[in-house]
């Protein structure tokens, strides 16, 4: 429903974002202390114009603190922070006009309907987007006259996105935008976010869902215990591309594993539930040997699958080390 209007907006926006590639967020040695507790312990970040940057980390790792410092809600204890060329803590209102923020938790404006909510926020900005067009962009055109408090969770989140977009920002913070969504609402939200990238917006995303980061992000940074423990693309995070792939399969009960070609048998691992797993750096060759052997003997390899460690595996490994 909203994809059509989004497509139209994207087509109108054209392909090239001005100043693509320049740093929109630049953080060096950022520290934040609350009394004796060091929540953020000297992190570096750089987010370039036009990219979707995912910031991951377990609860209490310093994620929210970092985001709130970038948004200008908290003052850093040390290091340098530059967002859209300004120190967020001292930035004026005109700086805020270039920013859109979807907070992790923000309730509906009580008593106002969807259109009134968006109109209230439109009044805050010097050159807001068109109100009805923005409501249509997030797919709430039909709910325009409904009270914000009566919207479903997913609809309310879309309203949050509309409120963040109404000022036509260059940089958008999305703090766990799909927490609590059902799978279809999550997919719909992803389309909205992907559409924002196509509009040339820079997006700073925090999330608990690895699939979300993998689907949307150009780059990912992982924070654990106040420090960045890994940074890279979804494909390369934590050296993921270098890890061995796994070939997994089952053999019929009548066939023993020692009947396999010896070069495979010696590397074979057996899971407690009877699945066989073969770590492989030369997947094509190993598969060729394995399937050739199976065809020769007329054996069907059940559940044959090739997999690499998922982003979630990498993430759990990274964040458990601390």
């Amino acid at each position: 429903m909203f994809t059509n209007s989004l497509d139209a907006a994207v087509a109108a926006a054209g392909q090239s974002a001005p100043g693509a590639g320049e740093a929109v967020i630049r953080v060096r040695g950022l520290q934040k202390r609350y009394g004796d507790h060091e929540a953020v312990r000297g992190i570096d970040l750089e987010v370039r114009r036009g990219e979707i940057f995912a910031f991951l980390g377990p609860n209490g790792a310093g994620k929210t603190t970092t985001v709130e410092i970038l948004e200008g809600f908290r003052q850093a204890s040390g290091g340098s922070v530059e967002v859209l060329g300004r120190d967020p803590w001292q930035a004026p209102g005109s700086w805020r006009a270039r920013l859109g923020i979807v907070l992790q938790e923000s309730g509906a404006e009580p008593g106002l309907n969807v259109r009134e909510c968006v109109a209230l926020y439109a009044g805050y900005y010097p050159a807001p987007r068109n109100i009805d067009e923005t409501i249509a962009l997030v797919g709430l055109a039909e709910q325009s006259g409904e009270r914000a408090t009566s919207l479903s969770g997913g609809q309310r989140r879309r309203l949050d996105v509309a409120l963040a977009l109404i000022g036509d920002p260059e940089l958008i913070f999305l703090d766990e935008p799909t927490t609590g969504f059902d799978p279809s609402a999550r997919r719909a939200a992803w389309e909205v976010v992907a559409g924002l990238r196509d509009l040339g917006k820079t997006i700073f995303l925090t999330t608990h869902y690895m699939e979300e980061a993998e689907r949307l992000a150009d780059r990912i940074a992982v924070i654990a215990a106040g420090q960045i423990v890994a940074e890279g693309t979804p494909q390369t995070l934590g050296g993921r591309q270098l890890e061995a792939a796994q070939i997994s399969f089952r053999l019929p009960a009548s066939t023993a594993t020692r009947e396999l070609p010896p070069e495979l048998d010696e590397r074979l691992q057996t899971d407690p539930d009877g699945d066989l797993r073969l770590p492989s750096t030369l997947v094509t060759a190993d598969l060729h040997v394995l399937t050739g052997w199976a065809l020769e003997r007329g054996i069907e390899l059940d559940d044959l699958e090739v997999s690499r460690p998922t982003l979630e595996d990498v993430y759990l490994q990274l964040t458990s080390e601390e």
Partner: protein, 297 residues
């Protein structure tokens, strides 16, 4: 009304507009200029208008600020209205006493109780933080809310005075009405400041309700709102004199027994209210937070 006028202006502008050069822009802009682009005053009115809408549509605010004072006025005058008391050396019927008393109560409820509960709720749900994330200055957000509170209080006061006149024949002289308006304005401002100061100490809307009741109810009994000050002990009067409710009520009571402007307003009480306002504003500036409590980690 505001929207109707705005709409008419917009329609007129649309008729005037010539089909000029077609400008292709990727981002459709809002037609007409935004409140922020029309200057700080327009932005303040914009905020006040929406805050007014929010409070007008809140069943709790409607009940507490409008119906509750009317019900109390009806009950008190019905039960005790035939008795008499002394206000500023003038012997008056209790029904005359109750009109400014309940008026003071409605000001406290609208400017203090409703505000504390609303603001704590908005903060707890992250609405204040989201508004603060926009370019709108803090002074506009607070000023807009204050302006909306002044309008709500004025409407509530007008309804009360009208009912007093029509139902109980308690009329107030013209200059005295002006004095009431001045006292009410200072009182509203003082209690709104106190409201912001108190809401800075409250973490949740659940906590706001009992705190508001606890701070408000006892003062109504000892400040000449429900019970004439003349029938209170010296000790209670001294306690009440420290707090702002008594000063608001006292200045309003003067207007019910006098007819000239000067006699209908108490300068001392206004000064005490102003001191409370200044102290509360300073405390709020130091302690008020836009962020929900305990979310950082």
């Amino acid at each position: 009304m505001y929207f109707l006028i705005k709409r008419l202006i917009r329609m007129w502008q649309a008729r005037q507009a010539q089909p000029a050069t077609v400008e292709f822009s990727g981002t459709p802009r809002e037609d007409g200029r935004s409140a922020a682009s029309r200057g700080p005053l327009a932005l303040l009115l914009h905020e006040a208008l929406y805050d007014l809408k929010i409070s007008a549509r809140s069943p709790r605010a409607r009940f507490m600020g409008f119906f509750f004072p009317i019900v109390l006025l009806v009950v008190f005058t019905g039960v005790f209205g035939s008795g008499h008391t002394v206000v500023d050396h003038v012997r008056v019927a209790l029904k005359v006493f109750y009109v400014p008393g309940i008026l003071a109560m409605s000001i406290v409820v609208n400017a203090y109780a409703s505000l504390v509960i609303l603001v704590s709720g908005l903060r707890e749900r992250g609405v204040l933080k989201r508004r603060r994330a926009t370019p709108v200055p803090a002074v506009v957000l607070i000023g807009g809310q204050a302006l909306s509170t002044v309008v709500t209080t004025a409407v509530s006061a007008a309804i009360l005075l009208l009912i007093a006149k029509l139902a109980y024949g308690v009329g107030i002289a013209g200059p005295a009405i002006l004095a009431i308006a001045c006292t009410a304005l200072v009182g509203t401002f003082a209690f709104a400041c106190i409201g912001y100061a108190v809401s800075g100490m409250i973490g949740s809307q659940d906590a706001a309700q009992p705190i508001v009741q606890m701070t408000m109810l006892p003062l109504w009994f000892i400040s000449g709102v429900f019970i004439p000050v003349a029938s209170l002990s010296r000790g209670l009067k001294d306690v009440a004199a420290v707090f702002p409710v008594q000063h608001l009520a006292n200045s309003l009571h003067m207007a019910s027994v006098h007819s000239s402007f000067g006699a209908s307003i108490s300068g001392t009480d206004i000064i005490v209210l102003a001191i409370w306002a200044a102290g509360a504003a300073a405390f709020a500036a130091w302690r008020f937070s836009w962020l929900p409590a305990g979310v950082s980690a």
